[in-house]
């Protein structure tokens, strides 16, 4: 779940990292009052959960409080990439000598956080990594063991920063890494981190993303920031297809058959099991397939739920076939899922043998499941066929399929 900039700045401030004397408001008159309090030139920034706000006119500079008020009024009405702002942040226009970058991101492959630092800030770190790789320092660190100064020092020093800058930056990067771990974040980024004329550092902008599943562990922080429990903060609104997936999953308490994400391909996916969904989705793409959706099925859903999910996917415009694939299942029954997906085809007047590109779910009750699949002529694979190979076969089938 992403934080707005004004929330991320508050998280940074609470961690003991210096921030500017900013203010957040939803009222132009209050923006004026904040600018008066700041007492100098200000920047008025739209608070939206999308990029490109500068280009869209969502960031404006003001020399007087009156100008700040006028800009705030404009920005509060400005939609950016389909998002209306939550409010505006009124920030002093700091006299910055140099902009730096400090960030921590979760590395899903290594299953560890990685600290990233660069003396080139204010632009995307990806761009810096590409154009000036020697100006990006990084190191993984444990999210269980305590963090030490030397870890941050090593990363910063590797980019050529020395002397008092290095000494002042170490606690900032260290605090950022700590707040990342303590708040179960997947991203904590200060960009730019500005060095002022007196040599001190101040966070000028921050981006943070907390692990969705960890929200329950951070109720106090979220309440302090005014984040409502109902706020999902997804990058976009759920599509009708995705909402229909939620309805399928909510129809009874048994198992999971939902968590649907819409894509625009032609191969419908009914996939799941212990990380299997992501692996299978990637495998389909790696073989040149175009998934129509992502979803998760597992935990032994009812036949009705498996059927509802398969029907939803089969009914999606552009879907030619579905691939029903899971890792080896133990707490989900193969025969129940087989019944569900075949029933979906039959209820839609479709031939399961033609519509199900492959059924690859080995595990509990597979003998019974395979009997059902054979009865309806569905191509199935047992555990001797890898997830990757099953995905390849599904893609091969759909690429040879005549267009609808």
């Amino acid at each position: 779940m992403r934080f707005f900039e004004f929330e991320a700045r508050e998280v940074v401030r609470r961690a003991g990292i210096p921030v500017t004397d900013y203010g957040f408001t939803t009222d132009p008159a209050e923006a004026k009052a904040i600018a008066e309090r700041i007492g100098g030139p200000t920047v008025i920034k739209s608070q939206v959960l999308t990029g490109g706000r500068m280009k869209a006119g969502g960031v404006k500079f003001a020399d007087t409080p009156g100008e700040a008020e006028a800009h705030a009024a404009e920005i509060l009405e400005l939609e950016i990439n389909g998002h209306m702002p939550r409010g505006v942040l009124v920030d002093p226009r700091a006299e910055v000598e140099q902009e730096y970058y400090a960030g921590v991101v979760w590395d899903g492959t290594r299953k560890q956080p990685v600290m990233i630092f660069s003396p080139v800030g204010g632009i995307d770190i990806e761009q810096v990594a590409e154009e000036q790789p020697d100006k990006v320092g990084r190191r993984h660190f444990s999210n269980i063991l305590p963090l030490s100064d030397f870890q941050a020092k090593e990363v910063i020093a590797s980019t050529g920063v020395t002397g008092s800058d290095l000494n002042r930056l170490v606690p900032i990067v260290l605090r950022l890494a700590r707040l990342f771990v303590e708040n179960d974040m997947v991203l904590a980024e200060i960009n730019p981190l500005g060095r002022l004329a007196d040599g001190s550092f101040v966070a000028l902008d921050a981006h943070m993303d907390i692990e969705n599943e960890a929200r329950g562990r951070h109720k106090k922080l979220l309440a302090d920031l005014g984040v409502g429990e109902e706020e999902t903060r997804q990058a976009r609104e759920a599509t009708p297809f995705e909402l229909a997936g939620e309805e399928v999953d909510a129809q009874d308490h048994r198992g999971v058959a939902g968590n649907v994400t819409e894509f625009d391909g032609d191969l419908g996916l009914v996939i799941g099991a212990g990380g299997g969904s992501l692996t299978l989705f990637d495998a389909v793409r790696a073989h040149g397939g175009r998934p129509a959706n992502y979803c998760e099925i597992g935990g032994n859903p009812s036949v009705a739920k498996a059927c509802g999910l398969a029907k939803l996917v089969l009914s999606k415009p552009g879907v030619d076939k579905i691939a029903v694939m899971m890792s080896i299942v133990s707490n989900t029954r193969v025969d129940i899922v087989a019944r569900g997906v075949i029933k979906a085809c039959l209820e839609l007047g479709l031939d399961p043998a033609e519509k199900i590109a492959i059924f690859r779910i080995p595990g509990a009750w597979e003998e019974e499941g395979f009997k059902i699949l054979e009865r309806y002529g569905v191509d199935y694979a047992d555990r001797s066929v890898s997830l990757n190979e099953a995905a390849r076969r599904a893609v091969e089938k759909i690429q040879g399929a005549p267009a609808r």
Binding site: A304, I336, R339, K343, E368, K371, Y376
Partner: protein, 84 residues
């Protein structure tokens, strides 16, 4: 009395279908609510037939398995094989 789903059919011998005590035991035993108990005996819930998890609890509640049971669970996808 017999009801057919897509995959599963359930049959209750006519002589047993009016047994309210058997109906009560079946309704209590079945985890997916295929049986209903009423004043007139057993009723079958068509919409739940394909949810049958082949657990045999109904057969045990009826006191016998296989061909001799007053309750039969028939696997339509397996050439009508009986759950026993």
């Amino acid at each position: 009395m017999r009801a057919d789903g897509t995959f599963i059919a359930v049959e209750v011998e006519d002589a047993a279908a009016g047994d309210t005590e058997l109906a009560r035991r079946l309704a209590e035993a079945c985890p997916v609510d295929i049986f209903l108990a009423s004043d007139s005996g057993v009723a079958l819930v068509d919409g739940n037939l394909d949810e049958c998890v082949l657990c045999r609890l109904c057969l045990d509640a009826a006191g016998a398995r296989g061909a001799g049971s007053p309750v039969k669970i028939i696997k339509l996808y397996d050439d009508g094989a009986l759950l026993d």
